[in-house]
C-alpha cells in the first residue's frame, strides 16, 4: 500500500495549474497510491489558519487524504493555539515551508514554537532550506520524528551526517534521485528512516515513484519506504 507523504492541494497563483482534490485523486489512481498526506496551498502561501481548515474539509470529504497542518512562524501569535489543537482536530503531521516563507530554524519565532511542537507529538516535515545546522540543534528538544523533505544530492552529505546522530530524523524520497541514493540511505539507516514523497501536484508523481521502484533493494525494504514507515509514524501520532 503506497502512501505519499507530501502532496499539495488548492489554488495556485504562480502559474495556471489544476491542484484540485479531484486532480490529485486521478493521479493517485493512475499510480496506485492508496493515501496521500495533503496540505492546502493557502496554508503555506497566505493564511495557515484558514488553509488548515480547508485541508480538514477536504480530508473529511475524502478518506484517502490525510490532513497535514501548516504553521507559519511569520505570523507567530496564532501559532501556539494552532499547534496545541492540531492533534485533537485530526491532523497527522506538521509541515513547515521556510523555503517559501523566508525564515530559518534559527529564527526566534520558530525557537519559541519548538516546545509546543514537541508537546503536540506529531511528526514534523521540513525542507533542508530550514537550515540544517540550526535544525540539528533543535532535534533533541523536538523529540518527535522529523522528516527532511526534498533532500537533493548537494544536501545529502549534511543530511546523512545528521541522521547518524539524530535517531528521530527521517528523509523523504522526493528529491533523492541520484543512482544508489535510496539504496545508500537504506543500507546506512534502514528503510524505516525513508518515506515516499512526491510533492504532487506541483511535481509529477511518477519520477519519485519510479526512483523508489528502480532502487536495487529487496521488496521487504521497499514496502516500508513506499508506505509502511509513514503509516507507522502516523499511527503512533
Amino acid at each position: 500500500m503506497i502512501v505519499d507523504s507530501h502532496c499539495l492541494v488548492g489554488f495556485w497563483p504562480l502559474d495556471r495549474r489544476d491542484l484540485s482534490p479531484e486532480a490529485l485523486l486521478r493521479l493517485m489512481d493512475r499510480h496506485g497510491v492508496a493515501q496521500a498526506c495533503i496540505v492546502s496551498t493557502r496554508a503555506f502561501i497566505y493564511d495557515f489558519v484558514e488553509g488548515n481548515e480547508e485541508t480538514l474539509k477536504w480530508c473529511g470529504a475524502q478518506e484517502r487524504f490525510l490532513p497535514v497542518a501548516v504553521i507559519d512562524p511569520r505570523r507567530y501569535i496564532e501559532c501556539p493555539s494552532e499547534i496545541a489543537s492540531a492533534r485533537q482536530r485530526g491532523f497527522r503531521l506538521f509541515r513547515l515551508f521556510p523555503d517559501r516563507q523566508g525564515w530559518r530554524a534559527d529564527a526566534p519565532a520558530f525557537h519559541r514554537l519548538v516546545p509546543g511542537l514537541a508537546e503536540a507529538g506529531l511528526p514534523l516535515a521540513v525542507p533542508p532550506e530550514i537550515g540544517l545546522g540550526a535544525l540539528a540543534t533543535r532535534l533533541p528538544e523536538l523529540r518527535a520524528p522529523v522528516i527532511l523533505s526534498g533532500v537533493t544530492y548537494w544536501q545529502l552529505a549534511d543530511a546523512l551526517a545528521m541522521m547518524e546522530t539524530a535517531g528521530n530524523l527521517l528523509m523523504d524520497t522526493s528529491m533523492l534521485n541520484s543512482p544508489g541514493a535510496v539504496e545508500q540511505v537504506c543500507q546506512l539507516f534502514g528503510p524505516e528512516r525513508l518515506v515516499f514523497g512526491s510533492g504532487a501536484l506541483l511535481n509529477h508523481m511518477a519520477p519519485a515513484l519510479r526512483t523508489v521502484r528502480h532502487a536495487q533493494i529487496t521488496e521487504a525494504q521497499r514496502e516500508p519506504i513506499l508506505g509502511g514507515s509513514l503509516r507507522s509514524l502516523l499511527g503512533r501520532a
Binding site: 544530492y153 534521485n177 519510479r210
Partner: protein
C-alpha cells in the same frame, strides 16, 4: 542503430563530490539496461568539473567497446588551442558524437567573444553541442551561430519568461534533466519548441534515469511524441541512423 531502445543524450561518467556511490562501468551499463537505454552519450565528470584534457582522454578508454556508451568531447574556452586539439583528436573517432561545454564549471559565458570563437569551430565541425548555460546565453549563441546545433539541458529548471527566449530558434533542442520534477515541464517544452526538439536527457550518473522516465510517464504525450522524445529526435540530431 538497429535497436528500439531509449537514447539518453545527457550523461556523465566518473566520480562526484557528492555522496553518490562510485559505480564501475559495468554497473553504469546495468543502470542503463534496467531503464531500457540503448545508448547514452556521456561527458567525463572530471572533464566537466576540473581538467577537460585528462577527462577526455579517460573517457575515450572508458567507453571503448561498450555498446551502450558514446562520448562528448568537453571543451573549455579558457584553453582554446587545447580544446581544438581535443576536438581534432576525438571527434573523428566513432565513439564521440558531440561536444560538451559547461559555463558554470568554467566560470565563463557562452556568448563571450572568447567562447563564440571556439563555438564557431564546433559549428564548422558539424556536431551538436550540449551547452550548459542560461537560456539568454543559449539564445545569443543560437542567433550568432545559426548552423550550430545546440542542446540546452535542464529545461525543467527554467522559469516561463526565460524559457520563452528559446522559442523560434530552429537550432536549439532541450532536455529535461535535473533534480526536480516540476509538473508539466515536458509538455511545456513540447508546446514551446515542438516535440521534434525535445530530447531524453537524464543526467545519469548524477541523477537516476528513472526520474526522467517518470517525467515522460506523467506527461500528456501522444505515442508519436513519446517515440520522438525517447529516441527518434536523438537519432536524427546525431545522425545515428547511419551508424
Amino acid at each position: 542503430m538497429r535497436g528500439k531502445g531509449i537514447i539518453d543524450t545527457h550523461g556523465h561518467l566518473g566520480e562526484w563530490f557528492f555522496p553518490i556511490p562510485r559505480y564501475s562501468l559495468d554497473e553504469v551499463d546495468a543502470i542503463l539496461a534496467r531503464c531500457d537505454i540503448e545508448l547514452c552519450i556521456f561527458s567525463s565528470a572530471l572533464a566537466v568539473m576540473h581538467d577537460f584534457r585528462e577527462g577526455n582522454a579517460w573517457l575515450k578508454h572508458a567507453i571503448a567497446g561498450r555498446q551502450r556508451m558514446a562520448g562528448y568531447v568537453t571543451i573549455n574556452p579558457h584553453y582554446p588551442d587545447e580544446s581544438r586539439a581535443d576536438l581534432d583528436a576525438y571527434l573523428p573517432l566513432p565513439d564521440f558524437l558531440g561536444v560538451k561545454y559547461h559555463t558554470h564549471y568554467t566560470n565563463s559565458r557562452a556568448d563571450s567573444p572568447l567562447a563564440l570563437k571556439l563555438l564557431e569551430d564546433v559549428q564548422q565541425r558539424g556536431v551538436p553541442i550540449l551547452l550548459h548555460a542560461s537560456a539568454g546565453q543559449i539564445a545569443n549563441v543560437a542567433k550568432a551561430l545559426p548552423d550550430l546545433r545546440l542542446i540546452m539541458p535542464h529545461f525543467t529548471l527554467l522559469a516561463g519568461p526565460e524559457a520563452s527566449l528559446l522559442a523560434g530558434l530552429p537550432n536549439v533542442w532541450v532536455d529535461f534533466s535535473g533534480t526536480d520534477s516540476h509538473w508539466g515541464r515536458v509538455s511545456e517544452a513540447v508546446e514551446l519548441l515542438g516535440h521534434q526538439r525535445v530530447l531524453f536527457g537524464s543526467d545519469v550518473t548524477l541523477i537516476d534515469p528513472a526520474r526522467a522516465l517518470g517525467m515522460v510517464d506523467d506527461a500528456d504525450l501522444t505515442a508519436e511524441q513519446r517515440e520522438c522524445i525517447l529516441r527518434r529526435n536523438a537519432v536524427d540530431l546525431f545522425g545515428l541512423a547511419k551508424a
